[in-house]
């Protein structure tokens, strides 16, 4: 009989470490879409875990039109409108933007929707493409073909892995008393933005309504687990940050609904990525001066840009800490299982074929022959061997793709950290309750909230102090100010002051 849970498998180790399981396939777009789908499917409420509705949502008609691909292929059950039109035929006509029962210019509507595809998802098979999360009627779950040889599509996990369900509960039903108001306001604002009257919803609703009614997707066990996971005590600080930042982004004065939802997408992903990193810092006992991520805003060649080089280093160190935290957690779990008297060590690992299986067999063999509890060093040696040879880098990769997909990473061969104007907008939005503030205060705030270092003041007390010239950091800060001013997020007031977030905080539009 198959073992239900392999306690030393990468996923279990990641969960044991972070309280949540970030995955390399789960980028900002998927995380946000799953969060919003969970809220939408559950009517923006917080149901009892047994009454939770799955976030799976098909929308194959609008999806066929928007992506130009027939997601209803092979579906001959029922009829659409008349006896001659099967769902498959309906999907085919929609995918081609052709005339259907007196329709006109569907091709134009198709081109319009195609412009709304989230570019971050626009790779690989069309079932995983998502529209930007701007309206309830545009939110759908991943789909893929039942098997590579079959032409029909079904809704199932591809890149959405459950973290969005956990995030949705954090917002809709926060466990921490301090987060309740933030979460309530954020969810109300999300609902208002996602349900705002829009011609997009009319297209979606009318096209979907023509399909024979399909059964709702049953809640899967891991979806329920993801919902329950939101109350894990290790996620308390993540919940607090998610609620506060979501409230900040959604409560901004002058941004439009889609603007705020786009920023929400970034705020959620950033919160998860930073939670993962902070946990790794804690577990590895990282010295306080090394707990930072340096953002570089230079435009010089790499060789001349010391800040960029240190930024690369800060990112590299962050990944090393994540890897080290995984080793320590795996070692801890090995010791705990050894103390329980575990015999079948091989059954606790996720064995695959080839070299990975050989390496894990060797590790499990040594664990079997050890006297437990063994010295800590022995567990660490074996954990390191397992991590180096098997696929334990999922959280490290998850961290990377989250940063990539929010626009925090740049460079190809040498990856360094920076921030795009959209991301800066999200940072300003997340802190809207404290806006406006001077750029100096803003840099201090993002140091505190996300561990980002931009200017000299934020670098004080970090290991950067002896590595980068203060003048170079100040120049870095001025570049960041300039970028924010160009993006309409800041205003230069004089030779010494730049004020950030004046618009984010204001209710009136168009006033200085």
């Amino acid at each position: 009989m198959a073992r239900a849970v392999r306690r030393l498998a990468p996923r279990q180790v990641a969960s044991a470490l972070f309280g949540i399981d970030p995955d390399r396939d789960e980028r900002a777009s998927q995380l946000c879409a799953e969060t919003l789908l969970t809220l939408v499917q559950n009517n923006y409420g917080a149901p009892d875990p047994d009454d939770l509705v799955s976030p799976k949502r098909q929308l194959f008609a609008i999806r066929s039109l928007a992506l130009g691909h027939n997601f209803l292929f092979g579906n001959e059950r029922g009829r659409v409108g008349d006896e001659d039109t099967s769902p498959q035929r309906y999907g085919e006509l929609l995918a081609q933007g052709e005339v259907i029962r007196g329709s006109a210019h569907l091709k134009l509507a198709q081109d319009t929707l195609l412009g709304l595809v989230d570019p971050e998802t626009q790779r690989g098979q069309a079932g995983a493409w998502l529209l930007r999360p701007f309206h309830e009627s545009l939110l759908w779950y991943d789909a893929r073909k039942s098997s590579p040889t079959r032409p029909d599509w079904s809704v199932r996990k591809v890149y959405m892995r459950g973290s969005g369900i956990t995030m949705a509960r954090m917002l809709a039903d926060p466990g921490g008393a301090d987060s309740v108001d933030f979460g309530r306001r954020a969810v109300a604002a999300i609902k208002e933005a996602l349900q705002s009257p829009s011609p997009l919803s009319r297209i979606s609703e009318q096209l979907e309504a023509a399909l024979p009614r399909s059964q709702a997707y049953a809640l899967e066990a891991d979806e329920k687990h993801a919902w329950l996971q939101a109350r894990d005590h290790r996620l308390a600080s993540l919940e607090e940050q998610v609620c506060r930042h979501a409230d900040g982004v959604m409560g901004q004065g002058s941004a439009s609904g889609p603007d705020r939802l786009w920023q929400l997408r970034m705020a959620l992903s950033l919160a998860l990525a930073i939670h993962v990193l902070r946990t790794a810092w804690e577990v590895t006992d990282t010295p306080e001066p090394d707990r930072f991520l340096l953002l570089s805003f230079g435009d010089e060649a790499r060789a001349q840009d010391a800040v960029r080089q240190r930024s690369e280093e800060s990112y590299r160190r962050a990944r090393i800490r994540l890897s080290e935290a995984t080793v320590l957690t795996l070692a801890r779990r090995m010791r705990e299982l050894g103390e329980e008297g575990l015999v079948d060590w091989g059954g606790e690992f996720e064995m695959r074929k080839g070299a990975v299986a050989d390496a894990l067999q060797a590790v499990s063999g040594q664990l079997r022959e050890m006297d437990h509890p063994a010295p800590e060093e022995d567990y660490r040696r074996l954990a390191r061997a397992a991590v180096e040879n098997a696929n334990y880098s999922r959280s490290e990769d998850g961290f990377r793709v989250l940063l990539e997909s929010v626009g925090l990473m740049a460079g190809t061969r040498y990856r360094y950290l920076t921030a795009t104007p959209d991301l800066l907008g999200a940072l300003v939005g997340a802190l809207s309750a404290r806006m406006p503030m001077s750029s100096r205060e803003f840099f201090a705030a993002i140091r505190e909230e996300w561990g980002f270092v931009v200017n000299q003041e934020a670098a004080a007390g970090t290991s950067l102090a002896g590595q980068v010239d203060g003048a170079e950091l100040e120049r870095n800060a001025r570049r960041a100010e300039r970028l924010m001013a160009d993006a309409g997020l800041a205003l230069g007031l004089s030779d010494r002051t730049t004020v950030v977030g004046e618009r984010a905080a204001r209710q009136e539009v168009g006033r200085p």
Binding site: R79, T112, G115, H135, P258, S494, R503, V509, P512
Partner: protein, 626 residues
Amino acid sequence: MSGHDELPVVTALRSLSVFSADQSAAYREHAGAAVDVLGPDAGSKLGRWVSGWAAGGTPGMVVLTGNAGTGKTAVAEAFCRTVGAELPAEDVPTEVLPGRWVVKDLSGLPDPRAREETLGDLLEKAIGGQVFVCANEGVLRDTLESLAEPVALSTLESALRQGAARAQNPLLTVVNVNRQRPTADSLWPALMDYLFREELWGGCDGCPFETGGCPMRSNAEKLRRPDVREQLRLLVRLGAGEAVPTLREVLAILSWAAVGGRTCTEVKDKFRDLGSEAFTATDAYFTRAVGGGLSAEVAERSPLLTGMRAAGLGEVTDLEIDGWLRDSTGAPSGVRELAGDPLRGASSDPGSSDVVAPRSALAGSRSPLDRVRTLQGAMTFQALGEMVSTDEDPTRVEDGLDALVTSVGPEAAGQSLWRERVFFEGSGYVGGPAAAARRLLDYRHTSELIDLARDAAAGRDTVLAIRELVRGLNFLVTGFSSADEGLVVPDPACLFARDPGSFRPASPSLVHSQVALLRLKVSVPDQGLVEELLDVDHSEVELSVDGDPARVLRIRPRMYEAIREAAEFQGPVGQGVAEMNDLRGFYGHLAAHSEPEDSLRVADPESQPPALVTVGLPHFTSAGAP
């Protein structure tokens, strides 16, 4: 001659510049020596109004809020001077005369409680006396909130939005000095005269100006010309579209433009040693005004200067103007004079015979402003062009080309200097100031924006301008270039599919709603009391729907440029994300304030002529059959 080794105004201007170590005069408290030379201040409308109020003795409180460097302390000094008192040295409340109190900086008080007590006490004193307060916006708001002074608080909020506001009992006037514009009609010439009036620039002992050897006096002389002042004003206006222009920054830039970091002694010594080769156009106001001579690190410290540099002066090519540099024979005589053409009636010898370059390369030179440094020695623009175009010595041609197109460090290339000089001094030969701006700046429509703002402020007809704005806006947000359907409001989501800066054709956009042209209004932001109290400059406009302050698009030079380019070219426009962020906010509010149309319509950028196409969805009588 003034009888000084060092001209006092040179020392004063050097100390006004925040770009060098000596910047004492940039701060009012330390500006004594500079004030002795230049005079108490340039004479702003606010200063005159406060002086009048002080002289009249009407009880009340005047609060100035605004950023550092906007001139609040100078106005406080004017208040004190009018009543015959000295500006207090301390920030704390000071009774400068019986019944007259001055708070130089409310945030100078140690803690919030002290500020509350002080302000509460002063509000009472304002019933029978005069109270003058300078305060930072945040500190003032916090203090008024803690004091539970709703009237004062709402007056502050109104002032922050509208520039100035007034309340009664006690008479409270709050002025947001951030809304003051140095480029205002009366303030700009006053500022220029404050620094460059002729009486200040008589010359020091042994000044080589008359022999074309003093770049500082040459600069000051040009900065007295009305056409030069207007062009500089335009650049400052463009910079002000990106940042709040404080008086401190403007004075610093003007001072840097005229004297840089030079001293009279240095100029005289260098001229003595090198003759006319000592100074070239890299010391000229026309390049220094846009950051010439400053490293990029220093220049980017000033948001205003950064904004002025973003106008691209010196970088924008113009075939005719660049051609005059290479061959000035066909150019108007005035242009040839600017180039230092010796055939254009110049003094045959700008310096004494022993200081002129031996090779006649400086034969037509009148001042350092027409000279360029090359590896072949300093020469006039005209001589440089001639060397590059006709010289048979390949080394000289190579050196000439280097000097023409290559900038070394903070020193601009010859052709950039030439374009800058023509922009300032040769506008009359290229079709006037507006045409010079259109041809030599990245902004092609600024003068039209200023005209529009003036028309709107004066209540003149703006219907045609609105139509043009709508045409550009429609193209920017939907790729649909027509104003016939009014302002097309796309679904806010569709704005994310639009990138007007790219060469990707626009996607069709779903139309959320439309706004008829008659419902649109163009106005200027600074109207009413703020116009009475502050020097404002109408150089930006607001496009509003039904006069609703929540549905307003602020159109500054960059946004106007994007709109006009979109209307004119109907292709990619080189604008950044700021414009799209503003547009997303504006259209988001328009969509939020109106119901979507009943019919489904798409703005189709491909259709000719541009059209809003109605999309018909399939007709179904009921849900799909199981």
